[in-house]
């Protein structure tokens, strides 16, 4: 029997391939970020492990795996130990519906974009579990900040992600990409709503993924390491991994729903364009990270509630009007 015909086996195989490839790419992305940051700072970055330090992420992971697991005496053991794997799980689970290329998608759900938003919305829970379960005041403060930030930025994230949904008339990411291959990228056409929605989506994704300048939940100069303060070894690695995977997937989703995914004006459509666009966006995120200082928590909230949410509402209305009057 062809294993791909059995739905359960097929799911497992697809999941295995996606997760493995994703983790390898993320490891490289970490290497890339470190090299890039080093260049910005007149340093050389990792050089010793492997050629040009390419095996450095592997060495980091191996080092963290060897470390002793320390569980604080007063910690809520269940919450404390459950939080990191759950965070990593939610971060990786969103990859299921991302169209890497034509017909290259692990699960072409009809509600793909909803799946991504729902799963990444659930990220708030393990983060709060980590903050509460650590029995540490810095972790508690970090957890509170993370929840406030997560809930606030969920709204502009959803509203801006609804713009492509309205414009393309589908919740499936594969449909969205095909629509763009046919009618042009949403960032370019229709003029206005697409690019504004992309900016809001991008900023909200940065906030959701706790990247500088929005990394106040783990602001290490204020809260030591925020929710990660008490974590060691593999759990710490999982928390860090979740952040990177989240950032990377945010880049992929943005590439898919605003930049036409695997399409490049009809020239040789395929996985390579998707990878290129994702890395371009990831490069941009890295660039921002290493040139900005972080906001204060109240300034961050003000940005979401005063600017991003009203603007995204207006953009959503505008794109609805566009579809109503101008068609596609």
């Amino acid at each position: 029997m062809n294993p791909l015909e059995h739905p359960l086996l097929r799911g497992l195989i697809y999941a295995g391939v996606v997760v493995t490839v994703l983790l390898i790419i993320v490891a490289w992305a970490i290497w890339f970020e470190r090299k890039f940051a080093a260049r910005m700072q007149s340093r050389v970055g990792p050089t010793l492990v492997g050629p040009m330090g390419l095996l450095q992420p592997l060495a980091d992971v191996l080092k963290l795996l060897q470390k002793e697991q320390i569980i604080p005496e007063n910690a809520d053991r269940v919450l404390f130990l459950l939080a990191p794997p759950l965070t990593a799980f939610f971060a990786i689970a969103t990859a299921a519906v991302i169209p890497f290329g034509p017909e290259m998608i692990a699960a072409d759900l009809d509600i793909g974009i909803l799946w991504i938003l729902a799963i990444s919305g659930l990220m708030v829970f393990p983060v709060w579990m980590a903050g509460w379960g650590s029995s540490n005041k810095y972790a508690l403060l970090g957890g509170m900040r993370a929840v406030a930030q997560g809930i606030s930025y969920e709204i502009p994230l959803v509203l801006s992600a609804l713009v492509p949904v309205v414009l393309t008339g589908s919740l499936s990411l594969a449909d969205m990409v095909e629509f763009q291959a046919e009618h042009g990228w949403l960032i370019l056409w229709p003029p206005g709503p697409g690019i504004i929605a992309f900016v809001i989506f991008f900023l909200s994704s940065l906030a959701e993924a706790n990247r500088i300048p929005f990394d106040i939940p783990e602001a290490e100069s204020e809260l030591v390491a925020g929710i990660g303060t008490e974590y060691t070894g593999v759990n710490f690695a999982l928390l860090q991994l979740a952040e990177y995977v989240h950032t990377f997937i945010a880049s992929m989703v943005a590439a898919a729903i605003f930049f036409g995914g695997w399409d490049f004006f009809g020239i040789a459509p395929g996985l390579h364009w998707m990878v290129l666009k994702t890395f371009a966006l990831f490069f941009f995120i890295t660039w921002i990270r290493w040139s900005f200082v972080r906001f204060r928590s109240d300034q961050l909230m003000a940005l979401a509630w005063r600017w991003l949410i009203p603007i995204s509402l207006v953009v959503l209305m505008a794109s609805a009007c566009w579809v109503f009057w101008a068609g596609v």
């Binding site: 700072q41 290490e220 100069s221 030591v224 290493w290 200082v293 972080r294 906001f295 204060r296």
Partner: protein, 398 residues
Amino acid sequence: MDAIASAIRVGIDPHLDLDEYDPAADLMVLNFGPQHPSTHGVLRLKLYLDGETIVKADTFMGYLHRGKEKLAEKLTYAQITPIVDKIDYVAPMTTEQGVNMAYEALLGIEVPRRALYLRTILAELQRIASHLLWVATMSIDLGGALGGGTTVFMHCFRERESILDLFEELTGCRFHYNTHCIGGNRHDITAGWPKKVKATLDVIDSRTAEYESLTTGHRVFRERMVGVGVLPGDLALELGITGPNLRASGVDYDLRRDAPFHIYDELDVQVQTEKAGDCFARTLVRIREMRESIRIVREIIDSVPEGPINGAKPVKSPTQFKAKGGQAYACLEGPRGEVGTYVIGGGDNRGASPYRVKFRSPSMHALSALPYILPGHSISDCVAVLGSLDPILGEVDR
């Protein structure tokens, strides 16, 4: 008192014991430090938090106390210099100069002009290095060790390294120089040194605009700094705060102009002041002072007079300098403010050691402002305010 009243914006007396005062307040007590990445060493703050807002802050010092003042009573006058290097480990040059100036005043020893010129140059170079490090650490406090702050940090450290290279060429040490001694300096200017100084200053001068674009010109940086940690001028005077922190609060006071030492009476020092008294004003003052220091060094580096660099008689034994009594106070404008040394003669070793030495450290006075200006701010601002005061814990605890 007006100063105190303006400081206590949230209506809580900074000297009040909150535990007894309001048990129903339901405040969270957070021990901020001594093991915390951004307390600049081992400062400990006891913060009473309402949510993330600081209601009250207590400062605890002494985790880096090494008994330098007591040690100074046991050492002879000539032995003190390498010990005081470790007091302010970010600006050892000025600390060395301060203590040697006090000892020279007590022992009545003239310093030759060449040494005074050299001391002025070293003090100004040290000020540039120290302010560079401040910009670096301030950015890290705001931006974190894994973000934009590190970029500024690395760039500022690159420039600071070049100044340390100059010091290394002159003294053989990058950090704890031991180059000043009673009566002058130990190490004379070498042949190519002034040229290298000018080349280094050119580089730093051309890159100062870069730091400005990353700090004072950066929108997020401004958002974090403007209006945060306002230190009123009268409160600053009352607490004995000196240096850039005082000048940023609108008080026009600089020892280089108002009580000249070295050769500053012959120089026209432009004192940099700002009115706002917030973290941003302190940033502006420090960056401008770097420019001013560059100007001063450029002005005098070529006009260093010939002559001896030490006015004391050649030393036969460490106990040669003796003072049976008397007292002296000398102070200079260090990167952090008034670096003062008060010494009473006539101690151990038949008068070859001082009876008592007191180091006045500007950082300690700066930290004493924290209980007044922290209430009402959030934890994020706490880090910014603490960093903007430029405390060096080695100097605070001595």
